[in-house]
């Protein structure tokens, strides 16, 4: 097991390097140069060139990439073109906010979505099932930002019971988390329902009934565990969608998180900050995927078996 974890963690590194390569590669297509952005369009060209050389902008892409990785390992993501402060400083101030939102979003989605999906499956074709499935379809078709906007209109502007800006109290978390979770609740509900329906039809569930086992135990002990395996993977990927959705939610609710920071940085052409922010978010996503894989191996003996034989 430890070996599997180590192995998976190590295999993470090339992918991370690849992701950073892609992100940096795309960002390097930005017209203009750092010097221009930092000093402004009115600066004398010599000063711009000097600054560019200082920042290593004239180096070929690959060498800049290697330097970036080297600095990354030391915790240095460069300095923001706008503020001059280290990128890591800007990101780390805001990362906890965004990550908290994302985790809360996934958590709420799992707590609500999975039980409802299972209920739907066990009571297939009942009115509750039809209602839940329809609701899930609609939520799955709703952009996160629009859910947030409508929630603000209803709960903040019309009813005045929930705040709409910032995160200064627990109540402030309600609407943003709800918006983040909405899409994933729908996805989890539908997926749990599908896997549960499939699992209930499996032969080993019939075996359990043939033993004379009580129906409740058949569902919860035999069917549920098997049904939830794919759901675990989906939750991990949902986190990834959330990392993206966090951007929209932070915009709508004016929350000072990494998402908002990246958006502002894009408008300011602050390449260093944009790169740093996106690299951080993507890395977090990768780590979550790794955790999900490990979790899967812990739960499913078939996966353990496959990897046990690979040494």
């Amino acid at each position: 097991m430890i070996r599997y974890i180590t192995r998976r963690t190590i295999s993470l590194i090339p992918i991370l390097l690849g992701i950073i390569f892609i992100i940096m590669g795309i960002m390097s297509l930005t017209p203009g140069s750092p010097g221009l952005v930092i000093l402004g369009p009115d600066a004398p060209p010599e000063a711009v060139e000097e600054l560019n050389a200082e920042l290593g902008y004239d180096q070929p892409f690959l060498s800049r990439y290697v330097t970036y990785i080297g600095n990354l390992v030391k915790g240095d993501l460069g300095d923001s073109y706008r503020t001059g402060r280290p990128v890591w400083y800007e990101v780390s101030r805001r990362l906890p906010t965004s990550v908290t939102l994302a985790i809360l979003g996934v958590g709420v989605a799992m707590v609500i979505g999975i039980p409802l999906g299972i209920l739907s499956a066990v009571k297939q074709y009942s009115p509750a099932d039809v209602l839940l499935t329809s609701l899930a379809m609609v939520l799955n078709s709703m952009p996160t930002f629009w859910f947030g906007l409508m929630a603000i209109i209803l709960f903040s502007l019309r009813l005045g019971i929930l705040p709409s800006t910032g995160l200064s109290s627990p109540a402030h978390y309600v609407l943003p988390v709800a918006a983040l979770a909405s899409y994933t609740i729908a996805g989890l509900l539908r997926l749990s329902r599908t896997t549960m329906l499939e699992t209930i039809r499996q032969d080993y569930v019939r075996t359990a009934r043939a033993k004379g086992q009580k129906e409740k135990i058949v569902i919860f002990k035999h069917a549920l565990g098997n049904a939830l395996l794919p759901v675990v993977t989906y939750a991990g990927m949902a986190f990834g969608k959330m990392v993206g959705g966090v951007v929209a939610v932070e915009t709508v609710f004016s929350i000072d998180g990494v998402g908002n920071m990246v958006l502002t940085a894009i408008r300011n052409k602050d390449v260093m900050l944009v790169t740093g922010g996106i690299v951080c978010l993507a890395s977090i996503y990768m780590i979550i995927l790794l955790l999900v894989d490990v979790l899967y191996a812990v739960i499913d003996p078939r996966v353990r078996e496959k990897y046990r034989n690979q040494y």
Partner: protein
């Protein structure tokens, strides 16, 4: 037409029958169609007796077995007529809790495909233990369940230490042994084996069948052996019933079916299809045609479209029963001959 065979072979009297099926009819309902899977079958099974249900896929054998266990798919499978008397009591009306007490403890079933019948996330030992734990009140011993689990492992020829492993670490034959251990854990009076060896290699088949024969003697279980393989049936059964399109067309003792002269044309077809190892032929003798669509059964005798001896009356009237001792056949041909 009902077909209640005479059980004179072993001198078992009327009160001593473990299982009596009377005129059982089962339908499957889909959105647009009604499938008549079982159309009025009747047979009886005594204690310590084994009966084989033989027929092609779709004859209704598994459906009958599931009906006895009351495990027909809830929304689509319905018993529309008849009685299933287990130890004298009709189990069709029983509610879920009562059936749960019967399943596993009095009537057990093993299924066709062992590969998918075990929960992949539970160890094998836990799954056998569960079979005991469910019925621990009725079988009376709470302690020593682990000991019993080990005994069961040994009984089916698996080292008890393997109880800690997961089903994916077992081969097909071993998984079937585990299923047998689960099924026999509480010493049921009736074991239904639905094609237990069809998914296994031939060599493993022999092993598993031998195991089942040994255990049957040890535990004195009655058994319903469902198979499409005549070779399997002759080795394990005392009596045999041939099913076609949801009906029993011929029933009798093993000697009657395998050695006697008179047979239902379908039975003749089944035996005729077995290649003779001593004769060289260029084509096998298949029975022409296919089993009828259960949603669209023919009137009269259901085998008439495929029967080489089909007469006019076969197409219009269901056949009567010809009986000779323990051997019964539902066919116009034989009834007519009997009259002469």
């Amino acid at each position: 037409m009902r077909l209640i065979p005479d059980l004179g072979i072993r001198g078992i009297n009327m009160d001593d029958r473990l299982l009596v099926i009377e005129n059982l009819k089962i339908e499957y309902h889909s959105d647009s169609n009604v499938f008549h899977a079982v159309n009025g079958i009747s047979f009886e099974l005594g204690y310590k007796e084994t009966i084989g249900l033989v027929g092609e896929t779709g004859a209704g054998k598994t459906t009958t077995a599931l009906a006895i266990m009351q495990l027909l798919p809830e929304r689509t499978g319905f018993i529309t007529d008849g009685r299933i008397l287990f130890k004298g009591e009709n189990i069709i009306g029983k509610d879920r809790a009562e059936m749960q007490k019967i399943r596993g403890a009095s009537i057990s079933m093993i299924f066709q495909d062992p590969l998918t019948c075990l929960n992949p996330l539970m160890t094998v030992g836990e799954q056998i233990k569960e079979a005991l734990e469910i019925h621990k009140e009725s079988i009376g011993s709470v302690e020593h369940i682990d000991q019993q689990v080990n005994q069961l492992f040994e009984m089916v020829g698996i080292p008890p230490a393997r109880g800690r492993e997961f089903p994916n670490q077992f081969s097909g034959g071993m998984k079937q042994r585990v299923m047998i251990a689960i099924a026999l854990a509480c010493n049921p009076e009736l074991l239904i084996a639905d094609e237990p060896t069809s998914a296994l290699d031939v060599t493993i088949q022999a092993q598993v069948l031998n195991l089942m024969a040994d255990l049957k003697k040890k535990i004195n279980t009655s058994m319903i052996m469902i198979s499409h393989d005549l070779g399997v049936v002759v080795k394990t059964c005392d009596r045999v019933a041939i099913m076609y399109a949801g009906e029993i067309v011929e029933i009798g003792a093993v000697e009657d079916i395998y050695a006697d002269v008179k047979h239902h044309p379908y039975t003749e077809g089944l035996f005729g299809a077995i290649p003779d190892i001593h004769t060289k032929v260029s084509r096998l003798n298949a029975i022409d045609g296919l089993m009828p669509d259960p949603a669209n059964l023919p009137t009269g005798c259901k085998f008439s479209p495929r029967c080489g001896h089909c007469m006019g009356i076969c197409k219009t009237t269901p056949p009567g029963v010809w009986k000779s001792g323990s051997h019964s056949i539902a066919c116009h041909l034989l009834v007519k001959e009997g009259d002469e």
